[in-house]
């Protein structure tokens, strides 16, 4: 038998890398969020203080930003669910030989980065873009509908970017749902709507939950989409954090903003763990 020592050593470079480029900066981020930067100065005061957090939760600008980010994320989840469920159902039940192709197509935007698809959306959504152009040509509108630089535009971008995160967990869960469940329900007298409500949706719930969490977290922290499609007019938590870090150069405050986002996600994670445990106890 090969000793365990050498195998452990193989993990070491990876561990070192994670510790060095992720864990250490992360701890620094946590610490920095409790530091402060005196006004008009770029020097950091390392005495621990809640000043940054108090500022976030007392300044209406940041509170509105937080609210806007949350609403955009929740709306993205809802739209992704409504749009993604039929797609996932179609992939599982109807796609047949197209399945691999469609799945690859879904994954493509995820692996080619956020920037290219978002720039494509700029073309689509701009006042002289394809959507407005088509509507004008058809004579349906006189003036371009403002899509770029609005929350609707950002919402379209977020849904487009994160739809696969909803579809893939749904596909995974629907795959394990034999069609005979639906057929059994129908033979017992359930109409199609009742089949969905009583059988398909409850059994797909774990996938819905997983997809919702993934899309929510992705939308909450998304930077490229609100930055480019918002045209600097719509502030979300990610764009505000970037502003503070890169433009204002107030790193302690940027860290605190990042920590708030992290806290939201951790809270969500905790809530889910509790829900899951309750569900476990039930089965």
């Amino acid at each position: 038998m090969i000793g365990r020592g050498p195998a452990h050593l193989l993990v070491a470079p990876g561990l070192a890398l994670v510790a060095f480029v992720f864990l250490a900066p992360f701890l620094l981020l946590v610490a920095m969020s409790f530091w402060s930067q005196p006004e008009g100065s770029l020097l950091v005061d390392t005495t621990l203080t809640f000043k940054n957090y108090i500022r976030i939760f007392s300044d209406a600008y940041y509170l509105r930003g937080l609210g806007r980010t949350l609403w955009l994320s929740v709306a993205t989840v809802a739209l992704a669910l409504v749009l993604g469920f039929p797609v996932a159902f179609w992939i599982v039940r109807r796609a047949g030989r197209l399945r691999r192709f469609v799945t690859a197509l879904m994954l493509l935007p995820m692996v080619c980065g956020a920037l290219l698809p978002t720039l494509g959306l700029v073309n689509l959504l701009s006042p002289l873009g394809i959507i407005n152009g088509t509507l004008k040509t058809m004579g349906l509108i006189d003036r371009a509908i403002p899509l770029l630089g609005t929350q609707i535009g950002i919402l379209i971008g977020l849904v487009q970017a994160f739809l696969p995160l909803m579809v893939l967990p749904l596909v995974a869960v629907l795959d394990r749902l034999p069609p005979s469940f639906e057929e059994a329900a129908m033979s017992l007298g359930a109409r199609p709507a009742q089949v969905w409500q009583r059988v398909v949706l409850p059994l797909a719930a774990p996938g819905v939950l997983a997809g919702a969490v993934l899309v929510f977290c992705a939308a909450l922290t998304s930077f490229v989409t609100p930055q480019i499609l918002g045209q600097g007019k719509i502030a979300t938590f990610a764009t505000m954090t970037w502003q503070q870090a890169s433009l204002v150069l107030d790193w302690p405050f940027a860290s605190a903003l990042a920590m708030v986002m992290l806290g939201l996600m951790a809270g969500l994670g905790g809530l889910l763990a509790v829900l899951r445990r309750a569900n476990w106890a039930q089965t």
């Binding site: 034999p178 059994a184 329900a185 033979s187 007298g189 359930a190 109409r191």
Partner: protein, 370 residues
């Protein structure tokens, strides 16, 4: 017979491939019918059409005098038990059994009573609060049956009900299914590929092949007088021997693959109808092996013997036949000579004589009885 369920001219095709050709069948009230056939014979397609899960391309379904061809599955009142049971994993046993009642607006005490009744019928009353995942395969199947009969269905459909059970359980569930049918009196249609299930359980068996019902008969009639060579070769384990035969040169003789055979007695009467090339079906248990040549026997060489516990299966290769020489299987309870010995096969009855051109059984009806 007044038909309770009438299947008239029902056909189904997927694109260019035809799953069902023109099915016509009448099923009496309270009857237990088995749809028997190899995979791909269309039996499950027919069951799904009856359940309303599949739209027939053509034809009519009449249940209790009412045309239900266009009735959606959820309005048919047909109990369906799936091969994989399809119990809802997020509901406990009582919720599963009560699902159909709930869909009919039956709730409260009345629902509880009927759930109890259905669980009682399958002797699973004390399992009400369990989840399907906590039950064994046999228990899950009982719950699936309870769920189907709780709605007091007009028709009970069973899709391969025994195929997911182990051999020991299969035997006992088979008996339970028969008892259940006798107790409930439900008109039942079962799909199976297992001939033993079909023959033991059903009042009548519909044998299907390539989308066609080729024979509907009582089990004994189906076994003793198969209407086609396919039926003869499908039923029985091992199935009937099918020998290529033609009229011999001399009157009263038959050529089996070139071997001249002079049958005697009722076997001779049975093959007297032979006019051209045909296939002769002989069941292994109606054949006897003898050491000396006797009138009516066919000579061969004992090629192999399989001991099957209690009885033996002899493989006899006919001597002097055109290659490849036909091998006749004979079931024998007696000890057999060494392999390689010359033996004689004496037929006791003819199961069928199938004309090569028409495929029909040309042996006279009485000849097959024994």
């Amino acid at each position: 017979m007044t038909a309770y369920l009438t299947i008239r001219d029902v056909a189904k095709s997927y694109g260019r491939s035809t799953a069902l050709h023109c099915i016509d069948m009448d099923i009496a009230r309270g009857e237990f019918l088995a749809l028997l056939g190899p995979s791909g014979s269309g039996k499950t397609t027919l069951l799904r059409i009856l359940a309303g899960l599949l739209d027939p391309g053509r034809g009519t379904l009449i249940l209790d005098g009412v045309d239900m061809t266009k009735t959606p599955a959820w309005e048919r009142d047909i109990g369906l038990v799936f091969q994989n049971y399809a119990l809802f994993p997020h509901m406990d046993v009582r919720q599963n059994v009560g699902f159909g009642l709930d869909m009919r607006g039956i709730r409260g005490a009345e629902a509880e009573r009927r759930i109890d009744e259905a669980l009682e019928t399958v002797s699973m009353r004390e399992y009400g609060t369990r989840r399907p995942g906590e039950l064994s395969g046999g228990q899950q199947q009982r719950i699936a049956i309870a769920r189907a009969i709780a709605i007091k269905p007009r028709l009970l459909l069973l899709d391969e009900p025994l195929s997911n059970l182990d051999a020991v359980l299969r035997q006992s569930v088979r008996i339970e299914l028969r008892e259940l049918h006798e107790r409930t009196g439900l008109t039942t249609i079962m799909v199976t590929h297992d001939q033993v299930e079909a023959l033991t359980l059903a009042d009548r068996v519909a044998l299907m092949e390539r989308g066609e019902v080729i024979q509907v008969d009582r089990p004994e009639d189906l076994y003793n007088r198969p209407a086609s060579a396919f039926a003869a070769a499908f039923l029985g384990s091992p199935p009937a021997n099918l020998l290529p035969v033609a009229p011999g040169n001399a009157p009263g003789t038959v050529s089996i693959s070139g071997v001249v055979w002079t049958p005697v007695g009722q076997v001779a009467q049975a093959v007297a109808a032979l006019r051209g090339p045909a296939r002769l079906a002989l069941r292994p248990e109606t054949l006897r092996l003898v050491a000396q040549e006797v009138p009516g026997a066919i000579s061969g060489r004992l090629k192999a013997v399989e001991y099957m516990g209690g009885e033996r299966l002899a493989h006899v290769e006919l001597t002097g036949a055109d290659a490849p020489a036909p091998v006749v299987l004979v079931r024998s309870a007696d000890a057999l000579p060494e392999t390689g010995q010359v033996v004689f096969v004496l037929p006791g009855a003819v199961t069928g004589l199938y004309d090569n051109e028409s495929g029909a059984n040309i042996a006279p009806a009485t000849a097959g009885e024994y």
